[in-house]
Amino acid sequence: MSSAKPPVLAVRDLVVVRGGVPVVRRVTLEVGTSEVMAIVGPNGSGKTSMLEAVSGVVKASGGSVALHGSDITRASRRRRSRLGLGHVRQGRAVFSDLSVEENLRVAARDTDPAYEMFPELRARSGTPARELSGGEQQMLVLARTLIARPSCLLIDEISLGLAPTVVRRLTGAVKEAARAGAAVLLVEQYTSVALDVADVVSVLVRGETVLSERADVLREDPRELQRAYMGAAADAAGK
């Protein structure tokens, strides 16, 4: 991109330390308007910690995070949220005692867009979130984040434990948000989901980016991705 406008999200040399051990080691990335970047990698590769440092859930130990060109590395979580950051946290982070409608109202007064996005939530609007199925919970969390109209959307493992049809619905809503102008950074365990939704796929292994490539290139030839992701095991199993 040659325009003078800064990218929506710019992460530089980000370091996150947990329990004395660096779990994210100098990660740098940029996400622009309407762009979807997917980070894939095995468990424990630092994907979640990276997202959490961007949204302020954990403190960054080094590097910087900028949103629309302004530095938010030390900003409070609420300030980041007001600047347009939305974060779908790992593990279906519904407020389980609150009903569907109440969950949505935490984020915005007007909840109608959520029901347009996922009509099945409307029938369950009075149901406590803990009684929803896993798929419905994930729809609720995604909708709750989206109705606040974030300009930068962070999503952590949207497909976790869900059936492929549900995952397609969720990724559909993410693509729609990106079309409307949001920059999306999502973390995935499943490469297939990442390839489906993303423009760019990065592979994170042990806190470091080992591969970053356009998704259409990787879709043509997924072997490089599999090798980076699963190491030797994938080669052997593929034989």
């Binding site: 051990v21 468990n43 434990g161 190491g231 994938a234």
Partner: protein, 564 residues
Amino acid sequence: MTRADARFVAVAILSGVAISYMSDFRIFLATGAIITAVIARSLGFLYADTRMVSLCQMSLAGVGGWTVGWLTLNTGVPVEVALLLGGVAAVPVGVVVGLPALRLRGVDFAVVTLGFAAAIQVAVFNRGFPGTRTNFTVPRPSAAVSEVRFLWLALVVAVLLELGLRLLRRRSVGIRWALVGKSERATAAAGHSVVVAKLTAFAASAFVAGTAGGLLAIQIGRLSARQLEPFDSLVVFALTAMAGSASALGAALAGVLSSWMPELLRLLGWSQDIGPMIFAVGAAQVLSQGGSGIAGQWLALAARFGRRRAERQPDRPDIGHCPPPSVRMSGLMVEDLAVDYGSVRAVDGVSAEVRPGEVVGLIGPNGAGKSSLVDAVTGYVPVSGGWVGLGPDPLMGMPAHRRIRSGLARTFQRERTPTNLAVGQFLAVAGRNRTSVSQRDWLLALFDLPAPVTAIAQLDSAERRRLELVAAFSSAPSVALVDEPAAGLTDEESGRLGSALRAVTEEWGVGILLIEHDLRLVRQVCQSLIVLDRGVVIAAGPTQQALADPRVMASYLGVEGESP
């Protein structure tokens, strides 16, 4: 007696000598400080070790004091013996108070102890202490009538209590307190009963507080209910938290602050009611720096000066072989096991077998039910159906710690090593004398861990995860269920871990059920695999064969259109 103990005794003696030169009134105050320090210590170690909050410590002291009064009034028991019996009498009371801790935790339990303090106040103390009506006072021991001599008696008792506490905390019973405070699950995984650990801690705390109460009764002749209000228990708790609950130094500081603050204000010519206000501001200031209190901050500062890096074992080019423990190994059988969480079936009819010396991999995507299966086998969650047995013996219906004692071992996805212990202490309680010192050291070397004296707090998280494995193997289990040991490791570390796991199975014949996402490690160590997806076994068999199964690749990579 360790060097630290000797240092403690020396400091106590020197303080006693210094105080002996003061006026009688100040000696009286100092004796009061010692008694308060002992009470502070009784609740401080309880909290620091087990994380149980007792807000009834003055009441337990009152039980001790009441008993001493009753015995000296109604029997011919010498007062020295009565003092001991006062501590003993507080023990059953303490155990009763501690019983709710088996179900209630955190604030719930703290408020229950405060309720107990209120109850014993109205039911016992308010009716008067023995001898109230006849104006009877508890006599001092004939050898300790003067203030100086009584100071020394109190000091000796306090020192003996502290040394006893230190002794217990070095032994299995006391190490288990620290373990249960860190995690109840880890306590059961070490093969120890959570019930026993909690109640022995509360009993010890009650004994110490009861003895202090006895001392107080002897010092002032007769206790009154006004000194033992539930409110006073609250105060002594806050005071201890501020001074530092984890050390004898903190307890001593709490004693000094409580007894000398009024004297200090008097010397300054300030009004007495400023004391609590200073305390309020001071406590808020100290605690905003963290929960370790003044003494904790001092000790941390001192430790920074004298910091020793974790002591590595000398280079070990050749780890060599190790004779297996003389324990009969048997295989784990799981048949048709089912686990439900509410309406969600997490494990659905899973059968598996792990033979001695065999490593079976348990793989599958997140949320497939792998950890639930381990929890069900080891007795951490109730099962809805199926059967689990070790060799010929069924394990069904046993609580978790007894299944571990039968020959299982387990580690957790989230590491739960007790950071307040040393490596050797942790291994001593986890090993339960089933392995020798040389076997323990072989395990430590095999998993590249530092010497047993190293504090676990000094280990990084990767080392702690390996330590958890060593703890599991140090009980010479028949089968160890190991949950994602390679999470977050580098390739090289993961490879070394694999070799170590293989060595344990080959040398000792331990069977391993290995949950792992790192497929490289799985291929390195597993003879066979069980692949779970959404609670169901979707493939099982020799490792290569199972990994090549298209359904396995599909479930891992989330490829759609999986074959039926």
